[in-house]
């Protein structure tokens, strides 16, 4: 029972990080209809900036720089490539993002080399005991940070002019343009926000119990794809639920690996993709993928 609770807590915490990444993924899709396969590189870029800068300027300024840096990389990809790519098909743009991802990840992993870079966070390896349940302090901070960011994002999405512009654009590009909404800005903003969220996720994916940032960090980002897709690519709620589902499943599958050995080793890593496949077989639009709610 205690193991179960510990696994659940860790699963939720990791899941919240996947939700953060998936949220950025969904925001880009809503604003531009592009499936962004370069998301892992945004995450790696954010983490890399934090790792390189924290010995020089301290952790918190480095974190701010990492967030700004990943947002800038996202905005740059939008401004230099997506906006100018003279293609009319969104699936072609998705393939373009794969190219961008390969270039950026290759360059960043070359920079990282075989090192494991510490991110200089102040939480270290302390463990908090809630009754009999032991949880790493970093996991609690991750959940808190993700919760606050997701909450603020949803509030902004619902209530600010930015959010209204974003949703109007997601629903109908042409009519949004008729309202005087600048689609270029909406799209640029979406890529920047996605970058910023990914950078925060990068931080918490690389702290204790993970040894640090290395070339395998992108694999963590890749697990956010099934989270976004099983939730429904155009649904923010879907991203949140999808992230939690993936996080909890992964924690459980890894935690009970010995009991599940008949499924083969490494089932924890494959589980997100298995769930995604099953969900898509039953609901092709994902759990929360929306259909037009219109009478006309």
């Amino acid at each position: 029972m205690i193991t179960f609770l510990e696994l659940l807590a860790n699963g939720i915490s990791i899941g919240a990080l996947y939700s953060l990444i998936a949220l950025g993924f969904v925001v880009i899709f809503k604003a531009t209809e592009v499936v962004n396969f370069a998301h892992a590189s945004l995450l790696l870029a954010g983490g890399f900036v934090v790792a390189k800068l924290h010995p020089l300027i301290g952790f918190w300024p480095a974190l701010a720089a990492g967030i700004a840096g990943a947002a800038a990389v996202g905005a740059l990809i939008e401004f230099v490539i997506i906006r100018r790519a003279n293609v009319t098909s969104h699936s072609v743009l998705a393939i373009v993002t794969i190219g961008v991802d390969i270039v950026l990840v290759t360059e960043l992993t070359r920079q990282i080399g075989t090192d494991v870079l510490a991110l200089g966070d102040p939480w270290g390896d302390q463990v908090v005991h809630l009754g009999p349940v032991a949880i790493a302090q970093t996991r609690i901070m991750a959940l808190l940070a993700a919760g606050i960011l997701i909450g603020s994002f949803l509030l902004a999405f619902k209530h600010t002019g930015w959010g209204v512009a974003m949703r109007a654009t997601a629903e109908d590009h042409e009519t949004a343009a008729l309202m005087g909404i600048r689609l270029g800005r909406v799209s640029l903003g979406a890529w920047a926000v996605a970058g910023a969220l990914a950078a925060v996720a990068a931080l918490f994916l690389c702290v204790f119990p993970t040894p640090g940032l290395d070339r395998s960090t992108t694999f963590a980002a890749i697990k956010a794809f099934p989270a976004a897709i099983l939730g429904g690519l155009d649904s923010t709620t879907g991203a949140l639920v999808g992230g939690l589902v993936v996080g909890i499943t992964e924690a459980m599958m890894s935690g009970y690996q010995n009991q599940l050995s008949f499924l083969g080793r490494g089932i924890g890593d494959a589980a997100p993709f298995l769930i995604m496949t099953i969900v898509l077989l039953i609901r092709p639009a994902g759990l929360f993928g929306t259909r037009e709610l219109s009478r006309v």
């Binding site: 209204v164 629903e171 590009h173 042409e174 949004a176 005087g180 600048r182 709610l293 006309v296």
Partner: protein, 265 residues
């Protein structure tokens, strides 16, 4: 009337890829007027409005010749947002409300092209005075409104940008006669409050009753234009767009016609 005062379209040609949708179209909407554009399906009416609003690129079309100006400033070659900022706002064909957003959010979206909080608050008061039903339904999803209510919302949403010129693409399409009349009255009221109107309609009777001038488009070209009253009286328009038969045009009093004319011939 100063020619550069209102909205002016000169020698406009529009292509969708290899398809030419408009050629040599010129028209003018003087400030404060209601001008109607009539024409059958595929005549190029929506294309004309897309060209003015700079949204042709969404349909993979483009202006290949001619120029569009408003108050002397060029609209052609600018972005859709710039056209709205200059005061020219369109209510698109088929209403196109944001179905998953609430009525209130739709109105908010309409004001996103202009940065003026006090102006926006005034615009909202004006819209809700014109369409009280929008205030009653403020929190409801726009997709659940009736067709007539959606048309009111689409017009109200456009008014949130406080346009100097309003472009309406078939606002009475698919509405019951009562609702069409209601929309027509509203258009007259919006115009009376000082907004110029370019009204695209297939309902020629309604459009000619509202407009001071009208243009008739056929396969991408202006084939007739003139004061609305003259067009309404012309044989060709009466026959082709007002659905009045040659008999009536020749002036035989309608009351003496047997209602089952097929049997009496």
């Amino acid at each position: 009337m100063n020619a550069t005062d209102g909205l002016a379209v000169r020698d406009l040609a529009v292509n969708y890829g290899p398809v030419r949708a408009l050629r040599g179209v010129s028209l003018e909407v003087p400030r404060g007027d209601v001008v109607a554009v009539l024409g059958g399906n595929g005549a190029g009416k929506s294309t004309l409005l897309r060209a003015i609003s700079a949204t042709l690129r969404f349909q993979r079309g483009g202006i290949s010749a001619g120029e569009i100006t408003f108050g002397g400033a060029r609209l052609s070659g600018t972005a859709a947002a710039a056209v709205v900022a200059k005061g020219v706002v369109q209510v698109p064909e088929g209403r196109r409300v944001f179905a998953r957003m609430t009525v209130e959010e739709n109105l908010r979206a309409g004001a996103l092209g202009v940065r003026d909080r006090r102006g926006t608050a005034k615009a909202r008061d004006r819209v809700l005075a014109l369409f009280p039903v929008l205030a009653e339904r403020a929190g409801q999803r726009a997709g659940l409104l009736s067709g007539g209510e959606q048309q009111m919302l689409a017009i109200g949403r456009a008014l949130m940008a406080r346009p100097k010129a309003l472009l309406l693409d078939e606002p009475t399409l698919g509405l019951a006669p009562m609702m069409a009349t209601r929309i027509a009255e509203t258009i007259r009221e919006i115009n009376a409050q000082g907004t110029s109107v370019l009204l695209v309609e297939q309902n020629a009777a309604l459009a000619l009753a509202l407009a001071s001038r009208a243009y008739v488009l056929e396969v991408g070209e202006v084939v007739l234009s003139g004061p609305a009253a003259e067009l309404a009286a012309s044989d060709e328009v009466r026959r082709r767009y007002l659905g009045i038969t040659a008999d009536e045009v020749t002036g035989r009093p309608a009351v003496t016609r047997p209602s089952l004319s097929r049997w009496s011939a």
